[in-house]
Symmetry: C2
Subunit: 343 residues, 2 copies
């Protein structure tokens, strides 16, 4: 019997950030596909679309008109999943039925007035304005008494459930810390208390030594495919400085963040020569007024495409019941992405 | 301010089986949809398809021919994510990079020789043969020394990543217990040790009293929309008797299971008048030779459709970063499904 090889044999990898495992099946990348194909969105969009409710000056569902905005534009989601005026309360029955009311604010951020420009197509200086807005919103929402967590994210592409192609992201701010960041907080806290250092700072140091999964670095950020990546081309952006939240980012760091965003998303668009769909989001410390030295801000990118612009990875059956599973290894994806990074 | 109402106000519900939360936004069911539409699969399939690698007598990818099978047919997946011949081994670097080799067996079960019949379209007696096979496989795979967990599941429909429309399910059996059942085991164990009873038996009793989320019962099974359901029409089948695994199911119970499967999947097909896609799977005790009195077997159904045959719920951005989220309440879905149950 040959000896165990990560590039060849089925194995599980541990995610120290979430405490979960992923099943990796490297030998399986060659299976045939007779299943569903997505339509690749190569469509050309106009700079301005009169029927788009996110374009400048157009009317939204609630009857309001967008201003003639020139860079970014933010407003409260007309159909937010969370609302500030939710009455406090809870429901319980027999210990097994439990619900708690949840207050929050959902916002939509248009990245640019241009209907046709996605992040990688924008200038670094314009992406920087998006970063500035994220910072400002994290701080302002976080100051509200009833907001303990601010989730900044983007769904890009119709295959990721985005209901409007005008490039935009969202912020859902709420009274409790959701499960994802709560799990990461527990893992980071345990590590920080044990080692006295940030889990992600130590992890980044290991990857900088290994090199295999690093995509690129600039002065303040590194982009890599995590050793425990679940999605075929999943990546993470990590600031080199151990910072808890975006409020702590300085001017140069924000420039570097914007530059890294452009390079990473630009590489994605070249993998299958199509505007690459993904969900991305920033994980950072809660806005509960505590210090949280264990937290190390980072940004996740979860793109669904697997083999081509039209064949995506399905997280279904086994993945829903058991654990996430992937075929192509993180090392193979990293090599492929690294080749596409604009230097 | 009005008082907190589960049918009206955003809230979080606790899943005592997994320990996780779901965000429910009842007011949001009316938002407009300009996003992706799936193609509804109303296509008529032939009874036998010469190009299908699952139909009787046809050739599979590895060159073997299927027998002229008359009821169910099971074989090892030619492109299994797990393999029995994987060498043992592990990989570790700096404490933060950790991998373990994983041995296992992946099988495919054709539910019937008919290319055109899904579970709800089969006779109860033929579904019973599928149940028999599940039982037999759980027991036989479970007897293997290196198999500690047997995951039985089905991906139905191309939107659920099924790579072949011939009705079939899968079994992934492996050396370790995956995350989903491991989390449920921990929650059930904690409850069992504290209360001395099965969590799901107590939960079922509460729902039988409440009635609101029960879809139907037969002598040995109940079908319900869990209070903490994530997917718009998510359901669960629960045996009334506290049993750990399918090996313990008696003849009458297996008949009742088959009948419940037909009724539940038949109701699904009527929701949007289309063959309803879903992933389903049986959670039960591991095959590690221990008793596991805490375990109560159950079957999950996770269907993705939301508003119509072509608009599904996307578990993306916020859901990937934070917590799963739903619009329509479990109670509304239950009422809708209950109306469609064949009595
Ligand atoms: O084995 P299949 O049906 O080709 O594959 C399908 O089910 C598997 C198990 O849920 C998933 O890992 C695949 O992504 C999905 O396409
Ligand atoms: O608000 P949108 O973009 O219409 O909605 C999209 O993002 C939300 C947050 O991830 C999801 O809950 C929706 O399912 C998805 O369609």
């Amino acid at each position: 019997m040959s000896s165990f090889d990560l590039a060849e044999h089925p194995h599980r990898r541990y995610n120290p950030l979430s405490g979960e495992w992923v099943l990796v099946s490297p030998h399986r990348a060659k299976r045939p596909w007779q299943g569903q194909q997505e339509e690749a969105s190569r469509e050309q969009r106009p700079e301005y679309d009169p029927s788009c409710y996110l374009c400048p000056t157009n009317e939204r569902a609630n009857g309001e008109h967008n201003p003639a905005y020139k860079s970014t534009y933010i407003f409260e989601n007309d159909f937010g999943a969370l609302r500030a005026d939710t009455p406090t309360g809870s429901f319980a029955k027999g210990g097994l039925l439990r619900a708690e009311s949840e207050r929050g604010i959902c916002k939509v951020i248009c990245f640019s007035p241009r209907h046709d420009l996605t992040l990688p197509e924008m200038e670094v200086g314009d992406i920087r304005k998006v970063v500035d807005l994220w910072q400002q919103e994290y701080e302002e929402l976080g100051k509200l008494d009833f907001i303990k967590h601010v989730q900044i994210f983007e769904n890009k592409g119709s295959v990721m459930g985005s209901s409007n192609p005008h490039p935009h992201g969202q912020i859902w701010a709420q009274s409790t810390v959701p499960g994802g960041p709560a799990r990461e907080a527990a893992q980071q806290r345990e590590y920080y208390e044990r080692e006295g250092r940030s889990l992600l700072q130590d992890y980044l140091a290991v990857e900088q030594e290994e090199k295999e999964r690093i995509l690129f670095e600039n002065e303040h950020f590194a982009a890599l495919v995590p050793f425990w990546a679940v999605w075929p081309f999943e990546t993470m952006l990590i600031p080199k400085r151990h910072m808890q939240h975006i409020g702590q980012m300085g001017e140069e760091e924000k420039d570097a963040f914007a530059e890294a965003l452009k390079r990473l998303t630009g590489a994605y668009d070249q993998v299958f020569n199509v505007s690459f769909p993904y969900s991305s989001g920033i994980h950072q410390s809660p806005t509960d007024g505590q210090g949280h030295p264990e937290w190390h801000l980072h940004m996740h990118f979860y793109p669904p495409l697997l083999r081509s612009a039209s064949v995506k990875k399905f997280m279904v059956g086994y993945e829903m019941m058991g654990d996430p599973q992937r075929d192509i290894t993180p090392e193979t994806s990293a090599a492929r992405l690294r080749d596409l990074i604009l230097s």
